[in-house]
């Protein structure tokens, strides 16, 4: 059996694997985000963002990342994309446009990349490959 503490996926570049540690850190952030699935909660966030956020015991860093809509930072702080995408949807951002924002390119450039076969695997397997760039 493999050591459950072993994280062989930590050397994948540009990726936050949502494991038990991230899930624990991000629990309240993710529950805040998923609550936005329901209209009544979206209305409450619109009416008073700080009051609505205060209902979830997030860390100050997580709250600031929500305020900043810092999409990658949210993932770094334990957010999971299926949850943070509900916050993006609240802002009217589609999944594909959210992906473009996280990769730091325009929506047109991102869409064009996908139409031409997506981001290639070559050069994108290991962090060491990105460090050479």
């Amino acid at each position: 059996m493999t050591d459950p503490q072993d994280k062989p996926y930590d050397d994948i570049p540009g990726t936050f694997v949502f494991d038990a540690d991230r899930s624990r850190e991000g629990y309240h952030l993710n529950q805040f985000c998923i609550s936005l699935r329901l209209q009544k909660n979206r209305d409450a966030l619109t009416a008073d963002p700080e009051e609505y956020m205060s209902r979830f015991p997030m860390t100050e860093a997580q709250k600031q990342a929500v305020r900043d809509r810092a999409w990658n930072r949210l993932l770094e702080l334990g957010g999971n994309i299926y949850y943070t995408s509900k916050l993006a949807a609240f802002d009217g951002i589609t999944f594909q446009d959210l992906a473009a924002m996280m990769t730091g390119v325009s929506r047109e450039d991102y869409r064009d990349m996908m139409l031409h076969g997506g981001r290639p695997i070559e050069g994108n397997r290991y962090k060491s490959e990105w460090e050479k760039k």
């Binding site: 062989p8 996926y9 994948i12 570049p13 540009g14 990726t15 936050f16 694997v17 949502f18 494991d19 038990a20 899930s23 991000g26 629990y27 993710n30 529950q31 998923i34 936005l36 699935r37 329901l38 990658n72 993932l75 999971n80 994309i81 299926y82 949850y83 995408s85 509900k86 949807a89 999944f95 594909q96 992906a99 996280m102 990769t103 730091g104 991102y110 990349m113 996908m114 139409l115 076969g117 997506g118 981001r119 290639p120 695997i121 994108n124 397997r125």
Partner: protein, 283 residues
């Protein structure tokens, strides 16, 4: 006796459902995606199943972070399409098959697979998109052509169950269905994938060569597919590509040797590589 006659592997990209729901499947962006399902819909009509056993993942809809079952079997009489944030999909309520589902639950748990039993559950695009692509447009006032038994698999929080575990669960599901006394034509769907990464700076990753090899393995070499480790899915197919372990449940429920009836592969649908295969059993 009930028998599993065929397996279907199929992506469940939400945008595919949106394209069908908004009637834009003929647009140049979508046409190549849907052209690959024309033959599948004819085949479904010719081989009308009595029940579909559908393996999918919930996307924080029925299960948020407060409860994460690894395997959850839908034993309810019906499953309503969920509101995922923009209203429920305009598709029919999914009817379950309670007698067969509870038989499978009992059989598989005694076979040492500790399932969670869901007597109430809403279903999201993970379950309804595969039904839509395989049956074609089905309005909210129509009915799906047959009952469906959902099996929700956790692939959101790492670790998902291993491919090997999924494959062996498929075998246990096969034993359960084979021992059900009523004469039923059961199909099993494994859904999700193929390569895609939705998050962070590597979003948009696609690995078509790997995906094609996986489709080959589904057809001819499931023993190799069941041994693929999690880190390979994550690294080679993107963080969300790990959904493909769900295809292993489907494959485990089939004969070792199967006949490939149809295959379809297209990039992209939104952020994802669309993969699809139909495999027929002989016994």
């Amino acid at each position: 006796m009930a028998r599993i006659t065929a397996g279907v592997g199929c992506s469940h990209v939400p945008a595919i459902g949106v394209a069908m729901d908004t009637g834009i499947t003929d647009q140049p962006y979508w046409k190549p995606v849907f052209d690959g399902f024309v033959k599948s819909r004819e085949w479904m009509k010719e081989n009308q199943p009595d029940v579909i056993f559908l393996v999918y993942n919930d996307h924080c809809t029925a299960f948020d972070a407060s409860c994460i079952p690894t395997f959850a079997l839908g034993c309810a009489a019906e499953f309503a399409p969920a509101d995922e944030g923009w209203g429920p999909r305009p598709v029919p309520v999914v009817k379950g098959h309670q007698k067969l589902a509870s038989h499978i639950a009992q059989s598989v748990i005694l076979d040492e697979f500790d399932l969670t039993i869901m007597n109430e559950m809403e279903v999201d695009h993970g379950l309804t998109v595969p039904l839509s692509v395989m049956f074609g447009e089905t309005g909210v006032d129509d009915a799906w052509p047959c009952p469906v038994i959902p099996l929700a698999v956790n692939v959101v929080q790492y670790p998902a169950p291993t491919g090997n575990r999924c494959y062996n669960l498929g075998k246990a599901i096969r034993r359960a269905i084979d021992s059900y006394p009523e004469d039923l034509n059961v199909m099993i769907f494994g859904t999700g994938g193929m390569s895609h990464q939705l998050q962070a700076e590597r979003a948009g990753l696609i690995n078509a060569e790997w995906d094609r090899r996986f489709l080959d393995m589904m057809a001819n070499d499931p023993e190799a597919a069941r041994r693929i480790e999690h880190v390979e899915y994550l690294r080679e197919t993107g963080s969300e590509g790990i959904e493909m372990v769900m295809w292993l449940v489907m494959r485990g429920a089939l004969d070792e040797k199967v006949t490939e009836v149809h295959r379809h592969y297209h990039v992209p649908a939104s952020n994802t590589a669309v993969g699809h295969i139909i495999l027929e059993n002989h016994s």
